[in-house]
């Protein structure tokens, strides 16, 4: 069963230098109850994708394609239909809780707001649900926390408040963009474990965006890797990590400190860097940095689909392996 179907999504930003493509012809599915991890370096378009799914892109943006969710195309939504589903059917968790919490309002009032706005509970019920949710997340004194202002709480507490705000209305789709990147590892672990438990119990689907493959490897069922606005590889987490089909995925994994050889003369890293905004190389857009590049790669791009849930944008993946070259 599918929860979300993204088809041919294109996102472009209007700037002084003209149109800059942020997401290019991206298609993927998200199943019911599934956690899809999206990995990529900065500039890969993963955050633009998250904002597009939530209808939060600024007005200087052009979005094309289809995003099918619960029988409708989200990209056709007007402001009124977005208001109806945001916060109730779908919710988002950002990296920095200070930017999603209002500094002048008490934490409690902010957490229960989605429930009240969508008429899902009366204030008393909403407070009780908020208390229960915070307690479940390991907040030792949730009652006091509801009365506090964001600056009175630690980063870990604030991020839990933001997560509570997102999940209390029991959305079907949760989008989390680097939700634990600003947290300490011990706090991060607690938050991740709780989020995963919540997804499993509620049957909701989660799009989990992170540059940290270690975190994704603990959270996700499926993994999609993005480069320059395209999905370059998608598959089950284990498949992608164990047998990456795309040289970019392979390079990204091998560059991680945890994967490096301490005794190597030089640490492994991908050659070159992500080209600056707007300049997309011809053919396969990864070819200037690719260790296995061939002439055809410079002019042609090709999607290789093994099945609907396992595909790669490397045409050489089907020759057996580009790694042997």
């Amino acid at each position: 069963m599918k929860r979300l179907e993204v088809r041919g999504l294109q996102i472009g930003f209007q700037t002084d230098q003209g149109w800059i493509p942020a997401v290019r012809d991206l298609s993927f599915d998200l199943g019911v109850g599934e956690i899809l991890g999206i990995a990529g370096e900065s500039g890969s378009g993963k955050s633009a994708l998250a904002l597009a799914l939530m209808g939060l892109l600024p007005s200087n943006t052009q979005v094309r394609g289809k995003v099918l969710f619960q029988g409708g195309d989200l990209l056709q939504n007007n402001a009124e239909s977005w208001r109806k589903i945001r916060g109730s059917k779908m919710a988002m968790i950002f990296q920095d809780p200070m930017s999603s919490l209002h500094p002048y309002l008490r934490i409690g009032d902010q957490i229960i707001e989605p429930l009240l706005i969508h008429g899902l509970a009366n204030p008393k019920q909403a407070r009780e649900q908020a208390l229960a949710c915070l307690a479940e997340m390991g907040i030792s004194d949730p009652k006091t926390m509801l009365q506090q202002y964001p600056h009175e709480c630690s980063g870990g507490m604030r991020q839990r408040a933001v997560i509570a705000m997102a999940v209390l209305a029991k959305p079907d789709l949760l989008i989390a963009d680097e939700p634990t990147t600003a947290l300490d590892v011990t706090t991060q672990r607690e938050v991740l474990i709780w989020m995963q438990k919540w997804i499993r119990a509620s049957g909701a689907s989660l799009v989990f965006i992170s540059h940290d493959v270690g975190v994704l490897s603990e959270m996700a069922d499926q993994l999609m890797v993005m480069y320059l606005g395209q999905g370059v590889e998608r598959g089950s987490l284990v498949e992608v990590l164990k047998r990456p089909h795309h040289p970019y995925t392979d390079g990204l994994l091998r560059s991680l400190p945890a994967m490096q050889d301490r005794n190597a003369k030089h640490f492994y890293s991908l050659a070159g860097h992500v080209p600056p905004g707007g300049s997309i190389p011809s053919g396969c857009s990864f070819h200037p940095r690719c260790p296995a590049v061939q002439d055809l790669c410079r002019t042609t791009e090709q999607m290789l689909e093994i099945n609907q849930e396992r595909w790669t944008a490397c045409m050489r993946a089907k020759e057996g392996s580009w790694k042997s070259s």
Partner: protein, 263 residues
Amino acid sequence: MDCMYARKGGKLEKLLSVENLTVKFGKFQAVQEVNFELHSGEIVGLVGESGSGKSTLGRAVLGLTPFQSGSVKFLGQSLGKLSRKVFLKLRPAMQMVFQNPMGSLDPHQSVGSAIMEVLRVVKHATDEEAFSRMKCGLEEVGLDSGLAHRYPHELSGGQRQRVAIARALAVEPRLLIADEPTSALDGSAQAHILDLLRGLVRNRRIGLLLITHDLSVVKLVADRAGVMHRGRIIETGSVEKIWSAPSHAYTQRLLAAVPQWRR
């Protein structure tokens, strides 16, 4: 001009010796009775979570934050006891690299001119010397010297961090303190910077104090490590020892929280 700075084979020299260092902010003890040593050609990692005092410790060593008791000895001289004049003379030999190079580079100054400025002011270099040493400096950190006329915003995050490192190196420091130098960078750029820092320590025989919350970074490049918790160094040892047999309960908890995965 010769771009080589190699100081290979020099004998291991004690650069830094911190004894019973305590830093207080009002009544709050950010750093409590910390002891450690750092030698030339050595990378010491300082790991801890936010609020553990690791950044304050780094700043106190450099004299950027005053300390209340204890001592910091650099090349045998106790920093707290030096006259301002002597301290300022010694100070260029200790350099710092911060997490966010945008915060340490002037947006209105080309990166080449930022490096030449310290060469002129600290090393009293002539314009010509400063120019050629700046170019060498950029090449040493793996940047094309043609980038010298660029401004910080025209560079990638990894390139900016290289510029910050090149500027720190321009005054030929003996000790480098790097506070989360790769935390703002992605996988591949992170590996580049770590490789660069490790190479500098080997070739120039400088000592590196690497402060980070990222345990995998310390495990990869450090020779020894200290684990900080609530202002104290609760465990020290070789990286191999800490990772294979952590003795403190907090270290065990910290290591267990790191996402584990194998290919």
